[in-house]
């Protein structure tokens, strides 16, 4: 768990994500991310913190290949995704779950259908889809709301649906971009507990947030970004840096 590992160290520590000297520039002369080097081990839970514009969202977008880095290498499960062909992106995303602040649910589909879409893309048989969707909704406490439409749900419930959809494909990596940004403190805890639970089950989790009380409450590893650079890599509570 360090911000600047050598490739040899990474292999030893069973890293899932490795970034080497990654920069991202949207406009010439300005950088959303600058010379970021970091490593996240399998099963690890990491918070990305920093003020707005620090580069948290850009870092997550690079990981699910919504953007390509301007410089540097991004290794996910030993594969350099910085040079991924467009046709290979869907395959990468099937192993990654993503949760957003604005939920990104389909308003004209029921809760059940929103969660099922991940499994349908994977080509799972209808019976398995139904069984798995029910289990996921039960896990997030929404099985009784499965036939409702997203807009009839509270913000916390909608985010739980989004989380169930992200976890449906049993991803190795869960990325959450301000997942509690629209929620009150009580619902924030509810969602963060579910995300932490996914981590306990072996999923590697990276959560971008500027909600510092929540970060402190969970005591997980925290990467603090400022102006596109990692300013601090704080180890999880009880873990030696």
């Amino acid at each position: 768990m360090s911000a600047a590992p050598s490739p040899g160290e990474s292999a030893r520590r069973d890293a899932l994500v490795q970034m080497y000297h990654v920069s991202k520039s949207y406009l010439p002369g300005t950088f959303a991310l600058r010379d970021v080097t970091l490593e996240v081990a399998k099963g690890e839970f990491v918070f990305l913190t920093g003020p707005s514009g620090a580069g948290k969202t850009t870092l997550l977008k690079l990981l699910f290949a919504a953007e390509k880095p301007s410089e540097g290498q991004i290794i996910l499960r030993g594969r350099n995704i910085a040079r991924l062909r467009d046709s290979a992106i869907p395959g990468l995303r099937r192993r990654i779950g993503v949760v957003f602040q604005d939920f990104k649910l389909l308003a004209n589909r029921t809760v059940e259908e929103n969660v099922a879409v991940t499994l349908e893309v994977l080509g799972r048989p209808p019976r398995e889809v139904r069984r798995r969707v029910f289990a996921l909704l039960k896990q997030v406490g929404l099985q009784h709301r499965r036939h409702h439409f997203p807009l009839s749900l509270s913000g916390g419930e909608q985010q739980r649906v989004a989380l169930a959809r992200a976890l449906a494909g049993e991803p190795e990596l869960l990325l959450a971009d301000e997942p509690t940004g629209n929620l009150d403190p009580e619902l924030t805890l509810e969602i963060m507990d579910l995300i932490a639970h996914a981590s306990v089950r072996g999923t590697t989790v990276i959560v971008a947030t500027h909600d510092l009380p929540t970060v402190d409450r969970y005591g997980k590893r925290t990467l603090h970004l400022e102006a596109g650079r990692i300013k601090e890599d704080r180890a999880a509570v009880g873990v030696r840096p």
Binding site: P90, R93, V98, T118, E120, V121, R165
Partner: protein, 301 residues
């Protein structure tokens, strides 16, 4: 159920849901394709009838070789046998002067009384030459006529070549205009359909974004939109057939006189079942191409 089967089920369900979710957009797409195909179909109908007339005219196509006056009967028969051996000739009938007059009398009907004033029969004997089917074209007829020209005993040749050639040119012209207009209409329809479906894609861009996020490939995300486009197009094509048939039945009595000048006395025919299927297929193709243009642009965006 296999992975492919699960995907097919998903495509069918999602396409139908898409059509149900935006009935107004679907109706606009269907109407656009339907109206454009009415114009294409009307040209097709005109062409079918003109070509049909040419076919029917060809069945009656004959060359008449008028014989020199006083040619003995035996020589007439010998000449008929010789003509029958010419490549492209199917059958030769000898028509005597008397038979020619009898046919003429029958042809003029009540006015035939005037012919009683004639002191002698002015009509010559002739050979009526039926052409083989492959020669029933302006070009084929010319080849046969060239072989007949100058045969001893033949004084003159009569055939409707100029009319046939003129008609064939008219058909070619209409076919050319039809192809040009059809192409312009198809491109215009394609642009309109693509724009109509682009609106639908824009309205559902969140769906494309979410599918992309959960790892759907572009073809997977695009397929329901393509199925929707093809379905709308096929329904538009069927609508065009219904409108055309209605117009055909409603307008036909009003323009029958004009049509008879154009088509002769042949009865106007509606599209064949194959023509109907082609029109529906053209609609499906237009819808598919229009949605492909819109959805892949939407996915790139």
């Amino acid at each position: 159920m296999s992975r492919a089967g699960a995907h097919l089920r998903y495509f069918a369900r999602t396409s139908l849901r898409g059509l149900r979710a935006s009935p107004v957009t679907a109706a606009v797409g269907i109407s656009t394709i339907g109206i454009a195909l009415v114009l294409v179909g009307a040209f097709s109908l005109l062409l079918t009838n003109m070509e049909g007339l040419l076919d029917r005219f060809g069945d009656d196509l004959r060359v008449t070789a008028y014989l020199e006056s006083g040619l003995p009967v035996a020589e007439r028969a010998a000449l008929a046998r010789r003509v029958a051996t010419i490549e492209g000739v199917l059958e030769v009938d000898v028509v005597s002067e008397d038979e020619a007059l009898a046919r003429f009398r029958e042809g003029v009907g009540r006015a035939s009384g005037l012919l009683a004033e004639l002191e002698e029969n002015p009509l010559p004997a002739s050979l009526e030459i039926t052409l083989a089917e492959r020669r029933r074209t302006p070009e084929g007829m010319r080849v046969v006529v060239e072989s007949l020209d100058g045969l001893p005993g033949v004084s003159d040749l009569a055939y409707g070549q100029e009319w046939v050639e003129g008609y064939a040119r008219a058909v070619a012209l209409v076919r050319g205009i039809g192809a040009g207009v059809g192409l312009v209409l198809a491109l215009a329809t394609l642009a309109i359909v693509a724009n109509t479906i682009r609106l639908a894609v824009y309205a559902r861009r969140d769906e494309l974004e979410i599918l992309s996020l959960v790892g759907a490939s572009r073809p997977f995300a695009a397929t329901p939109f393509l199925v929707e486009g093809a379905l709308q197009g096929a329904v538009g094509g069927a609508l065009a057939v219904v409108i055309l048939y209605g117009l055909f039945r409603l307008i036909l009595p009003e323009i029958e006189a004009g049509l008879s000048m154009l088509l002769g006395f042949a009865e106007p025919r509606f599209l064949t079942p194959g023509g109907v299927l082609r029109l529906i297929g053209a609609g499906a193709g237009l819808g598919l191409a229009g949605s492909a243009a819109a959805v892949f642009q939407g996915l790139r965006a």
